[in-house]
């Protein structure tokens, strides 16, 4: 009799009570997983699917297999965009050493340093659109400050945004301005966490200047460097607003990058080739995947090392 009551008692404890420890974390994760799946994972596979279609977004979609990709294969505009993407990736990384340099410069206690810090951080706060407009005026071949300054040293005028040889570099220079500020703020917080005892010890051992920086300070800034690297790579790959504002992809398409080309063929005034745009998106995704895998792998290693 007593046995049976105990048995019924346990079986009356619900499924949730019995599995509380394993189930609860999943319950807390559920909303995140649902949204991530719905807004991130599913669209990735949708893009793969759309890239096999010929579709204007309105009418009947037609399955054309890999024809979009074979068209990409000998599309000159695609290679221009790809090349520009790699230039962006390489040059945008300059923001990291530049940010470190400014952070070191500002990491001191003098009167009013907070004001200087916020002034250096300012370009990151203002919108990319404003940055683009300001640099657009700066580069203006007839009235711009840049060419007036070149004139003082007897050079120029150079039509930076209208010449296919300079245009990408001109836009990257504009992009480096806010990106350097971002890296600077990451390093400033990182510098707060540098262990003063280690600096002291290194100083006693006779480490100075560059050696001190390279062997003592920079290794301690590794977490900040990692984050700066991640945001800069991602920033370079999604560089879109500056290009759209400053050149609209021109002159004759020479400043396009993949994200802009994707927008142009799929969503701009003369575009609406959803399938072709999706194919560009897939290529861009695969490039990003290389970096994402690397980031995840190194984060995983770090976790394991603890």
């Amino acid at each position: 009799m007593a046995d049976t009551t105990v048995l019924t008692g346990t079986s009356q404890r619900g499924w949730y009570k019995r599995n509380e420890i394993t189930a609860t974390p999943w319950l807390f994760l559920a909303p995140g997983i649902v949204f991530f799946g719905f807004y991130v994972i599913a669209p990735i596979f949708q893009s793969f699917y759309y890239s096999t279609l010929s579709w204007d977004g309105l009418g009947e979609a037609q399955n054309i297999g890999l024809a979009n990709y074979s068209e990409l294969w000998d599309d000159g505009a695609f290679y221009t965009s790809l090349k520009n993407n790699f230039i962006w990736l390489a040059l945008y990384l300059l923001a990291i050493p530049a940010g470190l340099f400014i952070a070191l410069l500002l990491n001191q206690t003098v009167w009013g340093i907070r004001l200087y810090k916020s002034l250096f951080f300012f370009p990151f706060v203002i919108s990319q659109v404003v940055v683009g407009l300001v640099f657009g005026w700066f580069y203006d071949p007839t009235f711009g400050l840049f060419n007036i300054a070149l004139g003082w040293v007897g050079l120029g005028p150079i039509n930076v945004l209208g010449d296919e040889a300079y245009v990408t570099y001109g836009i990257i220079a504009a992009g480096l301005w806010p990106q350097t500020a971002y890296c600077m703020i990451l390093y400033l917080t990182g510098l707060n966490a540098v262990d003063p005892e280690q600096i002291e010890a290194a100083r006693l051992d006779g480490a100075k200047r560059l050696k001190m920086l390279w062997y003592v300070v920079v290794p301690q800034l590794k977490p900040a460097t990692f984050i700066a690297f991640v945001v800069t790579i991602i920033g370079a790959l999604r560089s879109f607003d500056l290009i759209s504002i400053m050149t609209n992809g021109g002159p004759f398409g020479s400043s396009r990058v993949l994200s802009f080309y994707m927008f142009e063929v799929a969503l701009s005034e003369y575009g609406f080739r959803m399938g072709y745009g999706a194919a560009v998106a897939v290529v861009l995704f695969l490039i990003m995947l290389v970096f994402i895998t690397y980031f995840l792998y190194s984060m995983y290693n770090e976790e394991k090392g603890r």
């Binding site: 309105l58 580069y139 021109g250 003369y270």
Partner: protein
Amino acid sequence: MKFALKSSLLSIALSAAMSTAALAGDLVINFDDPNPGPKAGFEAAVEAFKAANPDVNVIVNINDREAHKTAIRNFLSADAPDITSWYPGNRMAPFVEAGLFEDVSDVWEANGFSDSLAAIKPTMTIDGKQWGVPYTYYQWGVYYRKDIYEELGLKEPASWAEEKANCQAILDAGKKCYTIGTKFLWTAGGWFDYLNMRTNGYDFHASLLGGNEKWDSPEVRATFANWKELLDMGAFVDNHTSYSWQESLPFIVSGEAAAILKGNFAVPPLREAGLDDSKLDFYQFPAITDGIELAEDAPTDTFHIPSGASNKENAKAFLKFVTSAENQTLINAGDALGQLPVNANSSVDDDKFLKEGFEMLSSNSPGGVAQFFDRDAPAEMAKVGMEGLQEFMVKPDNLDAILARLDKAAERIYK
């Protein structure tokens, strides 16, 4: 919720019942020109319509012109207004083919538009039906600085040779002949339209943009050779790839450039910048090849009824209203749109440029009237094409590569 549903069902039933009788209910119009003049002209027409139909509740949404071009794809399928402004020809074709525009042939039939709007009928027709009505159009041509021409002793050119001689004289005076801003590409399309129509005629031009001719052909090469003559002279302002058309206007205002090839919409900003009628004048683009009939670019703007509209009777009444002679005069007046009325019985505003343009289009354009490069060619072709034209203006030596690229693109697009 339940009540809201019930009452909305009721109102749908009511409006359905009432629309058969006198006009009532709503009329939602999406219009795409927020500039003060056009906005005022359009709103005046709406007010007049309201006065004539007091029971109709007219709701007007005025969007930015560029934003409208992408928004239309969403609102046509998701939340259709009763009327939207748009463009004819190839620009409306995708929507017609996707079944998003309503067939309004009956409006044309009932109002005798086939006669009064005869000139524009072909570009409004797909599969033998009409899919919208025009409400305004405007001429293109060369707007030039009269005072500079007079100072240099030049006259409006009547031939290509005179055009070039004028240009040389202007260049010798240390100015540029033409200002242009090709950052957004389409301005170069205007130059190609005119050079090609004058070199090879309207029929060849239409056939080229319709995909029936090769770009790498002797005819097109002749057009580019004429263009190259101007480029070699240095006729255009430097660094035009950096400027939008608005940003190219200061050059003509300051007198650094003597002329601009543009639609009549360039006149209001130029006047505002201080060029009055004694300084600004207009001439028709001169003939190039002898014996080729002159043809002009005259883009038309149109109203359409989306097939998802909920008040189609009201919408049709508005289309009829807006194209009537008297309202066409009102909308296109100098202080409103400042353009040409589509209705032959309307009067053209007493404005130097409108009168000259109207006369040119009605009596001196025997070859035909084109819409514009990016309306006559399908959108994709227009994009690739105009990019090639811009490249040609900067690097004329790349012509072979450009023509090959355009032919390759055409092969895919027109298949």
